[in-house]
């Protein structure tokens, strides 16, 4: 059963914006790091078809959507069902 306690929209943004911002920059920095590693070690480069990379890109698409269950949808990306 859903809880009856619900934060106000402003409270959610105030409480979590900085954390979200930091996580997004971290993801961007990690993808940049991978690009540099791929460029430096071409023979060992991670291909765009790598399942982990595919997951990341699909997850970013989910984030852009207006689905109200984004966290669940991202988790489902890992499932074969």
């Amino acid at each position: 059963m859903a809880t009856s306690v619900m934060q106000r929209p402003g409270e959610v943004m105030d409480a979590y914006f900085l954390e979200v911002r930091a996580k997004l920059i971290e993801i961007a920095a990690t993808l940049d790091r991978l690009d540099r590693a791929n460029a430096a070690h071409g023979a060992e480069a991670i291909p765009p078809t790598d399942a982990r990379l595919v997951f990341v890109h699909k997850a970013l698409e989910v984030l852009k959507s207006d689905a109200g269950n984004r966290a669940e949808l991202v988790q489902r990306l890992n499932s074969k069902q």
């Binding site: 900085l18 954390e19 930091a22 971290e26 920095a29 990690t30 540099r36």
Partner: protein, 294 residues
């Protein structure tokens, strides 16, 4: 491995933090003057400068750590020009104290005209009071300020406001001082991915602040080191009264080590770069170290 933390607000930390830092290899700390979390009266600043120059060196010394500091009115309190004038008038007498490395952390917070004005006044003071400080300390045991043409300057760049705009404004203002300023005697702090290049290319020292939510993470700091080079680059925790950790500097060193960076590179970033920058003031006693293979 010995570490110099170039930016840590120890007035906000417990004595146990000094002990933890000493146990983790910190041998020197530089503490810029900053915002206390509330706006102080001019008298409050004088007490704060006494705390920085009299109390903290003693607390640090208990653990074999050398404590140095910087004097200024921080940008968050620069909006009140009347107060700024009063505080700036008192600053020169503190600049002659034996553990003061220079003027800082000055800069911008919200990039306002008043902040810019007070920033320029501080820079002018760094130039104007230099000769007087040399004279005041001539013949003293520390032979302070025997080199250079202005006080060392440590600069704060905005965090969550527009850092890019603020950093550009700061570099433009510095440029306006022309040959009166020597870029190698200025450290521009809190650089991130979008500001590090312009700071290093202009010849300044650059500081990366490891404060994961609002500033930078160890991983991103090592990325920047790899992309922009380790020359004139320093790492600090800027630990203060917020959710922060003085050992973030160490976590950054560990991240670099895990990626395979050499002992020489680690020593350069975490010890020698700050030692070389601070060493431009004869008050700073530690000398750069060299790795010798046997």
């Amino acid at each position: 491995m010995f570490i110099i933390d170039p930016h840590c607000h120890m007035v906000s930390r417990t004595t146990a933090d000094y002990e933890a830092m000493a146990l983790s290899g910190v041998v020197a700390i530089s503490e810029p003057a900053f915002w206390a979390g509330y706006d102080r009266s001019p008298a409050g600043f004088l007490d704060y400068y006494r705390q920085l120059t009299e109390v903290e060196p003693k607390r640090a010394a208990q653990f074999g750590i050398e404590h140095y500091c910087w004097i200024c009115l921080n940008p968050k309190e620069a909006e009140d020009l009347g107060k700024a004038k009063e505080v700036l008038a008192e600053m020169p007498r503190f600049l002659t104290r034996p553990t003061v490395l220079g003027i800082g952390e000055i800069g911008l917070n919200k990039n306002t005209p008043n902040e810019a004005k007070v920033f320029q006044q501080h820079v002018q003071m760094a130039i104007d009071t230099w000769e007087a400080t040399v004279e005041a300390t001539r013949g003293s045991s520390d032979n302070t300020c025997a080199m250079g043409k202005h006080h060392l300057i440590l600069i704060h760049t905005p965090h969550l406001e527009d850092k890019l705009k603020g950093t550009r404004m700061i570099l433009e203002m510095l440029k306006d001082f022309g040959s009166a300023l020597d870029p190698s005697r200025i450290l521009v702090d809190h650089v991130e991915e979008h500001t590090i290049k312009m700071v290093k290319e202009a010849g300044y020292y650059a500081g990366m602040t490891i404060y994961p939510v609002s500033k930078c993470t160890p991983q991103r700091a090592v990325d920047m080191m790899e992309v922009h080079g380790s020359e004139r680059l320093c790492v600090n925790a800027a630990a203060d009264w917020g959710v922060s950790d003085p050992l973030q500097t160490h976590r950054t060193m560990l991240e670099a080590k895990k990626r395979g960076h050499s002992v020489e590179t680690l020593m350069q970033v975490f010890y020698n770069n700050p030692a070389e920058f601070f060493g431009q003031s004869p008050r700073f006693k530690l000398k750069p170290l060299r790795v010798v293979e046997r």
